[in-house]
Amino acid sequence: METRHCQILILGGGPGGYVCAIRAGQLGLNTVLVEAGPLGGTCLNVGCIPSKALIHAADLFHKQATPNDLGIAADNPRIDVAQTQAWKDSIVTKLTRGVVGLLTASNVTVVTGRGTILDGKTMRAETPDGPCRITCDALVIATGARPTEIPDLPFGGKVISSTEALSLHAIPKTLAVVGGGYIGLEIGTAMAKLGSQVTIIEAADRVLPQYDAALTRPVATRLGALGVDLRLSSKALGLSEAGDLQIEERGSRSGIAAEHVLVAVGRTPVTQGFGLEDLMLTMAGPHIAVDPVCATSMRGVFAIGDVTGEPMLAHRAMAQGVIVAEHVAGLASRWDKRAVPAVCFTDPEIVAVGALPSDDMASVSFPFAANGRALTMERSDGFVRAVYDPATEVITGLQAVGHGASELAGEFALALEMSATLRDLSDTIHAHPTLSEAVQEVGHLALGHALHL
């Protein structure tokens, strides 16, 4: 069997894995990346990118098919879903090829094949030209997560996960979505805009329960407007013989006819089936426990990305990947982030960074209704909100909900990382007319002298 040695061996080519590999290559480490499927992991192939493409297409179609005050009319709008899928796939391919280029440029050795861990420093990869045994000084586990399956509603047949939902070649007449989290809402909203009759079942009393009611109310309102049937405090029980989705809502049971049932109740870390259990690492529930340099309980073994638990976000995985590469190369890097932005591409979009409102913090909101740019985009629902310590005026959290609000993620994250105060926001000129003006205004508002409210 072919054998090789490297300094850093990365299992999993998703955002965490390939970024770690690129950074390690840049630092001159002898780097090997093992990935069975296409590079880019969930994000590039069956997650972030394809879903954003679908959302964009659905939004465009919906605009055509909806009367507006601008006097613009398009007769008989229609969509060729196969073409939309082809377009989406072209983007995915362009990006995955881009990743291959980046890896090659950093002279990373990519081994295509299933990797199995033999011990803390050795892996066996089943490559197209035979098995290969790879030993290393540092092992990085970046195997990510997969859609969580509900025991009573196993994937298969009409029960689909986000992966299948994003590559449907026909818009289902009726779609039931189990799970009111961001995945369920993003796809549900898109399908609704494409003409599907969508029912969303959520166990909590509101959608996106990890956020406060005020922040998610505009989304709930919009869903209503789009004709989405929202079943809150409801639990999915399983499929009836006839194939209807059985649910229990406040004690009463009912059935929902649906051509497809999308189960989007969360993501489970991939920790089985490739020898990880034999390392007997210290776990944190279903996830691998890691310290500030992403080291696991075993010396010289690291873990990054979704497999290390929440927040399961591609950009967090990438940040961890950089830290591990730099640590292995001997630099002083460690996790020292003050802000990890989270974005939901619902309609309207939500962006949240840092602390949500709480008793010991003050918070103020500036509505987009008072924002010129928002008005010129026909969407003045939503707001920007700042959470801050009234004594020191230091900002501890920034959230926004609104059409196009996702693009405020950068400013929000930078503000929190820089330990910004309210004056930093209010005294920074924000271009007019832009949505971001609302961020400056929320600074003035908090300091007691709003100018446009």
Binding site: T3, L118, D119, G120
Partner: protein, 411 residues
């Protein structure tokens, strides 16, 4: 004139510069001792314990009642015996060379004693258990134990059933009736008695066979074994392989003034016999008798197999430092392979040419398996073996403190 009190320090009959001298060795005469009844008592076994049971004449013919006992052994069975011994000798030759080349750290030959293990093993049933020392690897060869795990153990590579955990030559093969060998001398002897007691208690119809060298009969566990065997009468055959040397220590140091080791065993109330270990037929006959006796519930029996350690103690020893170089050739009871070959030729069942041909074939077989096994790694060019195995098998379920230590090791 009163004799002043002086200690004696037993000396071998010949040191390196002397001529070999085995005049003290009573070589007995073939056919002189008859076959005793299975319920032989210790008291009645005096002649067997002090004499020497032999079947083969110097000219290769057989003589006496013990020969009749194994007359059922046809020529093909004896030829198989010869092949077993030749195979053992081929392995010993190849593996000592491998040790000299640094491919393995240690090796130990049983040259000159092959008949004892080979003939005894062929009389056992599946499920009987040998408790061998490190010089009875011939039991494994005669049990048709495959060569790949046998050689794999010597190279500590992926063919080694013990995954590199044991010193080379310390085999373990439960399915082939070969108890895991310990480096501590004598400990297995009393364990054999315990196993035989379990045979009796569970009624599984099997027996145990303990093995010990003449030197190790001095250890406390020799006494432990014989006293327990005598008290509880379990179905155990207690073999003593007297090959004259314990590394550089002459057997007289262990025997002291005892006439024979067999006689010493009689003292525990256990019937004992003394047999020419280099006479394949005598070994087969007495083994058959003793094993049958044990299996039929007549209790333990001790056998002293008289032979000579023709090679060095191990790859780390050079006997020319403590005994004459040509002592092995002068051993009055000859070489087991040579004597069986002569017998087979005498009964027209073999020839010199077939012997040379068979030796070459066996050497070729062993060499080819050796090449395959060496490809998986040797000490010169070690194959992959994860050191995570250190923590595997210390307990059935790994306790937390071992898990923590493995995490710290990082493998």
């Amino acid at each position: 004139m009163s004799k002043s009190v002086r200690l004696t320090f037993p000396q071998p009959p010949a040191r390196p510069d002397d001529r070999p001298d085995f005049s003290e060795i009573d070589t007995g005469t073939p056919g002189a001792l008859d076959v005793p009844p299975l319920d032989l008592t210790a008291r009645d076994s005096r002649d067997y314990a002090n004499g020497l049971i032999r079947v083969l004449e110097d000219d290769g013919t057989t003589k006496g009642p013990w020969a009749d006992l194994i007359s059922d052994q046809d020529a093909s069975t004896l030829r198989q015996g010869l092949r077993d011994m030749l195979k053992m000798r081929a392995i010993d030759t190849r593996m000592l060379t491998a040790q000299r080349q640094g491919k393995t750290s240690f090796y130990l030959q049983c040259t000159g004693e092959e008949a004892i293990g080979c003939a005894f093993q062929r009389q056992l049933q599946k499920g009987d258990m040998n408790f061998p020392t490190y010089r009875q690897q011939s039991l494994l060869v005669a049990a048709d134990y495959p060569l790949t795990p046998f050689l794999g153990q010597l190279y500590s590579n992926s063919y080694d059933p013990m995954q590199g955990k044991q010193l080379p030559v310390l085999h373990s093969a439960r399915e082939y009736g070969f108890f895991t060998i310990s480096g501590n001398l004598g400990t297995q002897y009393v364990q054999a008695v315990g196993w035989a007691m379990a045979n009796a208690l569970t009624g599984d119809g099997k027996i145990a066979a303990g093995w010990i060298g003449d030197g190790a009969t001095a250890s406390n566990d020799f006494h432990s074994a014989l006293i327990c065997a005598s008290s509880y009468q379990p179905p155990v055959v207690l073999n003593i392989v007297n090959n004259q040397w314990a590394i550089s220590t002459y057997t007289g140091v262990a025997s002291g003034k005892a006439r024979t080791y067999a006689a010493r065993s009689r003292g525990y109330g256990i019937p004992a016999l003394r047999v020419d270990g280099n006479d394949y037929l005598a070994v087969a006959a007495v083994s058959k008798w003793a094993i049958q006796r044990a299996r039929e519930g007549y209790g333990p029996v001790a056998i002293e197999w008289v032979t000579y350690r023709a090679a060095a103690h191990s790859s780390s020893d050079d006997p020319s430092a403590y005994r004459p170089k040509d002592e092995a050739k002068a051993w009055p009871l000859g070489d087991p392979v040579e004597r069986l070959k002569q017998h087979l030729i005498a009964i027209n069942a073999w020839s010199e040419d077939r012997h040379v041909q068979t030796e070459a074939e066996i050497l070729a077989d062993v060499t080819s398996v050796q090449k395959t096994v060496e490809a998986a790694g040797t000490m010169v060019d070690p194959g992959p073996m994860s050191s995570a195995l250190i923590f595997d098998g210390v307990y059935k379920d790994m306790p937390e403190h071992l898990r923590r230590q493995r995490q710290e090791m990082g493998v």
